[in-house]
Structures are given as structure tokens and as C-alpha cells.
């Protein structure tokens, strides 16, 4: 039995709804994840030395966004069996039967090829190679292998979400550099505490689906300690752009304040333990972590755009 047949059989009990609507296919792209990918890739492009034609830059962003969406579709195709037993994901297009598994697979593969090809032809083949590797890493390394086999799944798999600013940087320069590596590392070390804060709240869901998330395998106390550890690593990493010099004073202050709040919220999860505040403390860190990453990149973007505006008008 081929892999495709197995995936199809795993959701065969769902009723065919008579064809998916356009919004169903859009949902396969994981639009919320895609928006963060677009934003971080944009920051990578703006920070990179050199210039890029606005249209070529827009094509690069579009290709990166579609590539991220394609990997989301491949993830939803492969994970339909576990998605349907988790409350958080049961309503997704494939497990709910609105889209056939084969349709999701074809959609993901076609978009993967289109996005990589477009980025290569229109922008830069090195950046296209990075995008192809990112899609492969998320769909195969993370989704098919790590997610179901190790509690370190999102630690290693987090690399997939960390690549977009590096791809944006490569789209302009045709290479990677220390700066783009720092942007990569910030997202890489941000991902575990971000997901584990959610996993602490949804651990029953993950346990039911048999996914070895950290709280399910190592227990909540160990996960809380690791969240604190990662937040302590993230604090100096967040300051690295200022230290290296591609982030200004405003960024330095913002990174320090945001990083300290992140650590404080992580410690609060540790102190809340299994008590009545546990769920609230975890959700607070989860929601703040989204703002934290967005704000760090937004300040970097703001500083660079301000500097460019001063250069133009001076």
C-alpha cells in the first residue's frame, strides 16, 4: 500500500462534501502562519544590504508566502489522521472531509514547485534552494518524521519557521550572512517556548492523538523548566542584532524589555505549577510570545525604514 493510499484510507470515513470551496483551499495554506512568514521574510529583505526592484521584491515575498502555504498543505495532508482526533484541528479541511487527501497533496506539491520555480527564475536560485529546503524540512523532516517520534519535534522542526528571514535576505544578496543567521536563531529559540506554552494547555489533545509533545512525554514540570531555560537563551539572542550592529538603540531597548517580560512570564508559568493559575499563565506566555516576535522584527523594520527615509530626504 503506497503512502498516498494509506493517507487516503486514514480519512476514508469522512463524507465527501461534493467539492471544496476556494476558502477551504486557502485554509490549507495556514494563512495565520503565512502572515508571520511574510512579515519576517520582508524584514530579512529590508535589512539586507543592497537593493532589489520593488516588483522583484514583491514576487520574492509572494513566492516565499506560497512556499510556506504549500508546506502547510502538505502538513495537513499527512497529518489528517491525527488532526481529526484533536479538538484544535478536527475542523481543518481534510479531516472534516471538505477536501480530499489527494487534492491537498496535489495542491501542496503544485504550489511547492511553482513557488520554488518562480523564486528561482524571477529572483535568485540560491534563495529558491533555501525555500525548497524549508518546504522539505517542514513537510518531511518535521511532519513525517520528527513530529510523531520525538519530544524534540518542535525544537528541531522550528528551523522550518526560522528560515523565511534568511530566504528574504538571500533574495536580495544571493547569500547568507551572520545577520541573517542571527534572525534565524531568534526564531529558532523562540519556537520551543512558544509551542510548549500552548502544548501545556492542550496536552490532553496531543496525548489523545499520540503525539510525543514535551508535556506528554516529559511531563508538565520538566516542560515549564525548559520554557524558562529557552527564554533565558532567547533574551541575549534577542539583543544580538543590537550588539552586532544591525539593530539600533531603539531595538536594543525594545529587545531588552520584551525579553525580560518573556522571562518573567516563563518564570510565572514555573511558579503557577499545576495550580489554578497554570492555564492562564501558559496562555499568557503563548499570546505574548506572538507579540514578542512580531515586535522585535517590527522595530528592526521601523529602524531600517526610518534610516532609508532620512537618507532619501537628507
Amino acid at each position: 500500500m503506497s503512502l498516498v493510499d494509506e493517507r487516503s484510507a486514514s480519512v476514508a470515513t469522512s463524507d465527501w462534501s461534493g467539492g471544496a470551496s476556494v476558502p477551504d483551499f486557502f485554509e490549507l495554506l495556514k494563512p495565520r502562519v503565512m502572515s508571520l512568514v511574510i512579515f519576517t521574510a520582508l524584514v530579512g529583505m529590508v535589512l539586507a544590504p543592497g537593493s532589489i526592484h520593488p516588483l522583484i521584491g514583491a514576487v520574492a515575498l509572494l513566492a516565499i508566502a506560497v512556499g510556506a502555504g504549500a508546506s502547510g498543505a502538505l502538513n495537513m495532508w499527512y497529518d489528517a489522521d491525527i488532526d481529526r482526533v484533536m479538538l484544535r484541528t478536527a475542523g481543518r479541511p481534510v479531516p472534516s472531509g471538505r477536501i480530499e487527501p489527494g487534492e491537498a497533496l496535489s495542491f501542496g506539491l503544485v504550489l511547492s514547485f511553482l513557488s520554488v520555480f518562480t523564486l528561482g527564475v524571477a529572483v535568485d536560485w540560491f534563495a529558491a534552494g533555501l525555500l525548497a529546503f524549508t518546504i522539505f524540512f517542514y513537510a518531511v523532516i518535521y511532519t513525517m518524521w520528527l513530529k510523531r517520534s520525538t519530544p524534540q519535534n518542535i525544537v528541531i522542526g522550528g528551523a522550518a519557521g526560522a528560515f523565511p528571514p534568511m530566504i528574504g535576505w538571500a533574495a536580495v544578496t544571493g547569500s547568507v550572512s551572520l545577520e541573517s543567521l542571527v534572525l534565524f536563531l531568534i526564531i529558532f529559540f523562540w519556537t520551543p517556548p512558544h509551542f510548549w506554552a500552548l502544548a501545556l494547555v492542550k496536552s490532553d489533545d496531543y496525548a489523545r492523538a499520540g503525539i510525543p509533545m514535551m508535556p506528554v512525554v516529559a511531563g508538565a514540570p520538566s516542560t515549564r523548566r525548559q520554557i524558562v531555560l529557552y527564554s533565558l537563551v532567547l533574551l541575549p539572542l534577542g539583543l544580538a542584532p543590537w550588539w552586532i550592529g544591525f539593530g539600533g538603540a531603539a531595538y536594543g531597548v525594545a529587545a531588552l524589555v520584551l525579553g525580560l517580560i518573556f522571562v518573567a512570564l516563563a518564570v510565572d508559568i514555573l511558579r503557577a505549577g499545576d495550580g489554578p493559575r497554570a492555564r492562564k499563565a501558559s496562555m499568557r506566555l503563548f499570546l505574548f510570545s506572538i507579540f514578542h516576535l512580531f515586535a522585535l522584527f517590527a522595530v528592526l523594520l521601523f529602524e531600517r525604514l526610518t534610516a532609508m527615509a532620512i537618507q532619501v530626504f537628507a
Binding site: G18, G19, A20, S21, V22, F25, H53, L55, I56, V59, L114, T118, V121, A122
Partner: protein, 51 residues
Amino acid sequence: MEDDSIELTPEQKRRRRGRNIAIAVTLFGLVVLFYLVTVVKLGINVMNRPL
């Protein structure tokens, strides 16, 4: 001979029409995009050819 083809409901026809339009718009958008990218990439060099 009995016709055993599937008769689509109005809702299914509406969804199919939506998918068709989305594919058409995407393909047309790609054509325009590649045309514009070609113009940008060639730039002034497009004039630089033997007459």
C-alpha cells in the same frame, strides 16, 4: 440506457464555479507577473538588439 452520472447540487456547482474562477485568475495573474518580471529584468537592454 440509464444515466448513472452524478448530478451536482446547486451548491456543488457554485463551489466548482468558484474553483474554476480562482484557477483562471491565478493563471492570468501568473502570466501578467512573468511578463512584468521579464520587462523589469531586461530593463533598457530590451532596446539593445540588432535592427
